[in-house]
Amino acid sequence: MSEADQELARDLGFLEAYTIGLGTMIGAGIFVLPSIAAKAAGPASMISFALGGVVSLLAALSLSELATGMPKAGGSYYYVNRALGPFFGSIVGWGMWAGLTFASAFYMLGFGQYLLPLLTPHVDFLASMSGLGKTVAALVMAALLTGVNYYGVKETGSLQNVIVITLVGLILGFLTLGLLSGPSIGEFNPEGWPAVAATVGTVYVTFIGFEVIATSAEEIKNPSRNLPLAMIASVVTPTILYVGVMFVSTGTIPLDVLAASEVPVKLAAEEILPGFASAIPFVSVPSSLLAAIGGTVMILGAVLATVSSANASILSAARVNFAMGRDEILIDWLNEVHDRFRTPYRAISVTGILTLVLIGIGVGVGTLAEVASFMYLVTYALVHVAVVVLRRANPDSYEPTFRIPSVLYPVVPILGGLACVGVLIQMSTRMVPYTLAVGGLSVTSPFQLTVVGGIGIVLVAFGVAWYYLYARDRAPSETLVGEAIAPAPATAADGDGTYRVVVPLANPASERDLLRLAAASARTHEDSEIVAINVIEVPDQTSLAQDLTFEEERVERQQELLEAARDIAADLDVGLRTRAIVGREAGSVVLDMIAEEDADQVVVGWAGPRGRREHVLGSTVDPIVSRASCDVTLVKRGERAGGDVLVLAGEGPYAPVAARRGTEYAAATDGTVTVCNVQPPGDGEESTATERGEELVEAVIEQAGIDDPDETRVVVDEDVKETLLSIAGEYETICVGATRSSALAQAMFGSLPERVAAETDRTVAVARGPEESPLSIGEAIARRLES
């Protein structure tokens, strides 16, 4: 049976990653924005583009670190959600989705603006309806793109390189000829510097594409080098091109004409090319023809660019949807993969429809761009915060292969964050006093909110509302902010002195065994209690209350189960409390209970191996085992219960915890404890192997802080696994420590003793200590104040 899968053959080198980045960056922006930018800030809008590039460059550095540390679909959303929790996750997730949707509507309108002049000379009726015409063209193209991605037409992908090369060539040609024709800039900064700053917000939409590289992180060869390089290159290249195009455009055509045009680059090309008519040897070309050729070529370029940018936006949006669905911030319904086309067809359809709506209701092209920019500036501001939080919290799983160089950290994230916020404020406010008068009261605010500021704030507020109304109950509320604030190292908080064992119960057959083991642990503490819980799971679609009335039978069964638990506890003579709970997912409910009860140990039953990978142990057990903040004991029931206990002393970090459990269990049934280690002979003498084993066993006993066990055994044998299995057969209960590792499968069954545990037919307890669970922000601040 082959398990060697998951190898992704795809390897993107620097050039491929760079092309992918460029493909999304050199898009509509360069063709559509010059007139909007020129109108807002005149020739000085060149500075706006340059500043946008700088803001993106800072974001690219932070994103590179995050992307190499957590190569996952969803990009910024994923990093922010991981670092700052689902509250900010909701804001960024919705923000990115909205941003990408606005951006693709913007690209499509740009497409319409450029396509129309190409068609109008030939199609009469279009000329008479240019306003409507471009909207119709935009709608048709958006629908077409949605369809292409819905049906997964493969050939679209291979065009990407051709498009990128064509576009870069076109723009370079435009720039060269433009510069040769001697552009002359009039008044450089007619609108003043605040306008230049605000224009950064307008043009920022054109810089949102480089994030695509981050989402391909796991496919990139040698990511520590190639990923940041590709990101930086695909920010710097377009920035230079944009500034150049701005320079040529504003220097070639009068500002008022440029500002009024919907096809600025075409105009500029028509202006530039005729000047070169005399330079063409041998043939005399009329300058009007050259102008027409120049114009048409630029139109074709714009059409390609807008389409490829919009396409990338729609696909990126689907990835954000997927990542949000996986974190349960969004309904997973959206992420269904089409049976035949293998596309995330629902996510694509919804984004497509929203894009069509945005085009249809006639949001201006400038506003679309600005809202997209707004949402991404919010996102990148939080990305910078996420880098700082992750660096400070430094969780085990975060090991970026690229780190922001130490000279630049924390300058880059701080400067980057401030830059994003600065642009946001500049674009959403106008420094015009605004007085709100209600009755006799009047409040004067020194500024007014712009339309974009208003829409942006509404969208952010939507993300916040979504978190409180939907995501909060579902998404695991983990944030590393607390870890980042707290003084290191943070140790698990001590409870109220009562040793509390939480036992989730589901199966009447295993109930007694689980409670017996829980009682054995509880007994060794003076003040202790067991909390038995049972969760009735209610599917997402139904409300919790509604489903209950139909589920009387299940409620009855729950009552019986807990009733039986009380009886067993009475038999065992141990304090027990029961809790009957209705919830969405048993796993997360149990985790909540562990936190709420301030539990010291959770005892979970496990039926034995079933499916693979998706759920290593089962959908309920998985989250508990991987995330519980207390001791976890995973119990696999064997043929017999109680009696003599075997503790497998390995090198894993939790072997001492296993030894402690073993001692507790043996004491409860007056059985014996044996601590055992099996060593392979190795290269040296048999005696050295024995010594090695004895040292390990002693270390485990000492770390566990238990009395000397009844017996210690060190066996040297070539076949460690078989030997362990046969020794295990001599005992009733086997205790083994889990391995510490981020991957759950490895955590439970990575090491040899654990595999033995999985295969033996004895009762097995796999023990692990408390996971260093993220602190809440409140706890962290409290701890900081105390220290």
């Binding site: 049976m1 053959a9 997964g152 992908g157 291979s158 049976d339 035949r340 998706e614």
Partner: protein, 148 residues
């Protein structure tokens, strides 16, 4: 010496429903060893429509569905430029004696759009290809009327 045709079968599956159906169809016959394959399609130099992670999850669901029916099956996930290339690569890799698959229905236009995988598999394969019956149910169950 002649080998049994079913000594080691490689069986491609496209999704959960397809995996279950294919496994059931295969179960009706005798075979020795079987490796079920899911191919993640990727384009060479552009963004894939389905993110590789989502594709992998989708594939795992399909492979698990298959193994729910035939627990002894080995499983492979490969990434390839297209499904046929991926299946053939795995077949060569595990030295399969034959490839067994269940042709899926679909209108002419859909087959055209998807490049008619079944036909290409049969014509391009370097080892025997076995078509399992029962694939036509696909129309009602798998595609849920969402094509064309």
């Amino acid at each position: 010496m002649t080998d049994s045709l079913t000594e080691h079968l490689v069986v491609p599956v496209a999704n959960e429903a397809d995996a279950t159906r294919t496994a059931r169809a295969l179960q009706a016959y005798e075979f020795d060893q079987v490796t079920v394959v899911y191919v993640i399609e990727h384009t060479a130099d552009a963004i894939d429509i389905l993110s590789p992670e989502q594709a992998r999850e989708h594939g795992q669901d399909a492979l698990e569905a298959f193994r729910a029916v035939i627990p002894d099956a080995g499983s492979e996930t490969v990434a390839a430029a297209d499904v046929v290339d991926g299946v053939l690569a795995v077949a060569a890799d595990v030295d399969a004696t034959a490839i067994a698959f269940q042709p899926r229905g679909g209108s002419r236009i859909v087959q055209l759009l998807s490049g008619d995988t079944a036909l290409r598999l049969v014509t391009e394969a370097d080892r025997p290809v076995i078509a399992l019956p029962g694939g036509e149910e696909d129309e009602s169950e798998g595609a849920r009327g969402e094509d064309t």
